[in-house]
């Protein structure tokens, strides 16, 4: 395309404005987490006090622990279930596999609030008290599709004869699974794991409906505090959550890039 100077300038200005729109609130929030004053309109100096406070606040620390615990357990379980599921479906006839794959679209297309409500109804009906474990169950359910959809393409890329060859050479199917298949699809599993972990850390709506005040996660704490006025410690919490998700995404991105090259 032949672009005039005017078009190019417009394009640059446009992109700059979009980036400002997207990042101004985040940057302001990060800046305020280092602001000595409680006020949002005055900068009175740099401080790390809010971060220190966060690490001395038992309710925030508890929520942090819950968030990480839930994310770790949900990620591990969903990685195992999702990977096995992908392997199993890969071996199935197409019709059967299609049905199962479509089931995976369900949690991805259902609005979060409906997913949250539906799980809450089921737990309450079954008289399972809402808490950490119900939240973990819900997280596993919405994490599995991410693992599944990361592993499936790797399986399709794999040479199907490898597994057959291993079996023909007398390898036990289980051994063939972890000696032949798993190493081949490892990059996909890894991406899926990271995605699941990120989604789990990131979730608010589903956690809100499937957990309780007893074991709040970080987003629940942020939600409560928005109802009660803004506190700088929440900026610190938000900043830390943002930075950790950022780091995870950088990891995922590098991972996928390496795969593309390899």
């Amino acid at each position: 395309m032949r672009n005039s100077r005017g078009v190019r300038t417009f394009r640059t200005v446009w992109m700059a404005l979009v980036l400002i729109f997207l990042y101004a609130p985040i940057l302001v929030m990060i800046a305020l987490s280092f602001n000595a004053s409680v006020s949002r309109s005055q900068w009175t100096g740099f401080t790390l006090d809010w971060y220190v406070k966060v690490f001395h606040d038992p309710s925030i620390l508890g929520a942090l622990r819950t968030t990480v615990e839930v994310a770790v357990i949900a990620t591990v379980v969903s990685t195992v279930i999702g990977t096995l599921g992908a392997i199993g479906m890969h071996a199935m006839n197409t019709n059967m596999a299609n049905v199962l794959i479509n089931v995976s679209y369900l949690p991805m297309t259902t609005p979060d609030i409906v997913t949250g409500v539906s799980l809450m109804l089921m737990f309450l009906f079954a008289k399972v008290p809402l808490g950490k474990w119900t939240m973990i169950m819900a997280h596993i359910a919405f994490d599995i599709p991410y693992v599944l959809f990361s592993v499936m393409p790797k399986l399709r890329q794999m040479n199907p004869n490898l597994y057959e060859a291993a079996l023909d050479l007398g390898c036990h199917p289980l051994k063939a699974l972890y000696k032949v298949i798993i190493p081949e699809i490892m990059p996909g599993i890894f991406t899926g794991t990271l995605l699941a972990f990120t989604m789990s850390l990131d979730d608010f709506v589903i956690s809100y409906f499937t957990s309780s005040d007893m074991y709040p996660n970080l987003s629940r704490i942020v939600y409560s505090s928005t109802k009660l006025g803004v506190k700088p410690t929440m900026y610190a919490v938000s900043t830390m959550m943002f930075v950790s998700i950022l780091l995870l995404l950088v990891l995922i991105n590098r991972r996928t890039k390496l795969e593309d090259m390899g």
């Binding site: 309710s59 309450l124 008289k127 008290p129 809402l130 808490g131 309780s212 005040d213 007893m214 409560s224 109802k227 009660l228 006025g229 803004v230």
Partner: protein, 351 residues
Amino acid sequence: MKKIAIILLVALLVGALSTAALAEADKPFAGTELKVYNCYDYIDEAVLDIFEEETGIHVNYLNYIDNEALYTRVSTGAEVYDVIVPSDYMIERLIKEDLIAELDLSNIPNLENVLPSLLDPTYDPGNAHSIPYMWGTLGIVYNTEMVAEPITSWTALLDENYAGKIFMMDSVRDTIGLALKTLGYSMNSHDEDELAQAGEWLMAQRDSGVVGGYILDQAKDMMANDEAAMAVMYSGDALYAMDKNDKLAYVIPDEGSNIWVDGMCVPKSSQNKEAAECFINFMCRPDIAQMNMEYIYYSSPIKQVVENLGEEELASTAMNPTDEMVARCEYYNDISDVAYLYDDIWMDVLM
């Protein structure tokens, strides 16, 4: 010399052991975990540390937004709590639905510290199920610089001069209650027609555009920062805002308002009832109540604390309303039999 040293050492060790043993006997509930479920920002958490140190009971302190949220949690049995702090009308409802336990008052000797006027309330005769935690009134906080005339009536909330700067509460009973009061009805109305009128009053107010928002605790910060002209508020939040901003005043409107008591109760499902009573007793200790009141700014029901109030505080409508003001206020009663009417109106207003 050496012998003496050894004897001293032995004495010291034995002494240490016996005090340790004593301490054990003193802490019959050591190691218990107590789940205390209270409103946000409604305790000085330093008090909990003292309690944990003195009794060895570990307090798991949890928060809810309002009585309705508390009720939902407790009634669905979603969780088990040991101490909850519902308001008067909710206590009445929880008693009616058999969700809270009868207290063993012999475990709560500090009950004698509670102001006689707050004892044996209508919502819980004989304090069989609840011990007052804090009390107060509902009123309007306004900025005397922005609002020229002193406010005396709830109708000030309709004043279009302050459009967008009037904040209502995101709370069913309080907001519908004040509309009922304005219209001359009881805040505990069971009458469909009266309630419909209250709903219309609130919707007309909303549609005229005067309302800046339906919010909760944010209102105190907004008032403190001169961002709002007036806001409906509990007396305790009013005291907090007035402490931050000299221009604010608190009024209990002439039509009357709500007087409320939040009481400490033990749900039936609690497995640690005695430890819970120990906690309730602790909260009624004058020094603890004093600390707690200084932190959260609400009026304490403990005699000794009231006697310690300064002159200014005694004169404050928010902290210490006169008998005449209290007389025009009413407690909320349980209206759960017509809750659906309140709910209906409230959803019409809010949604």
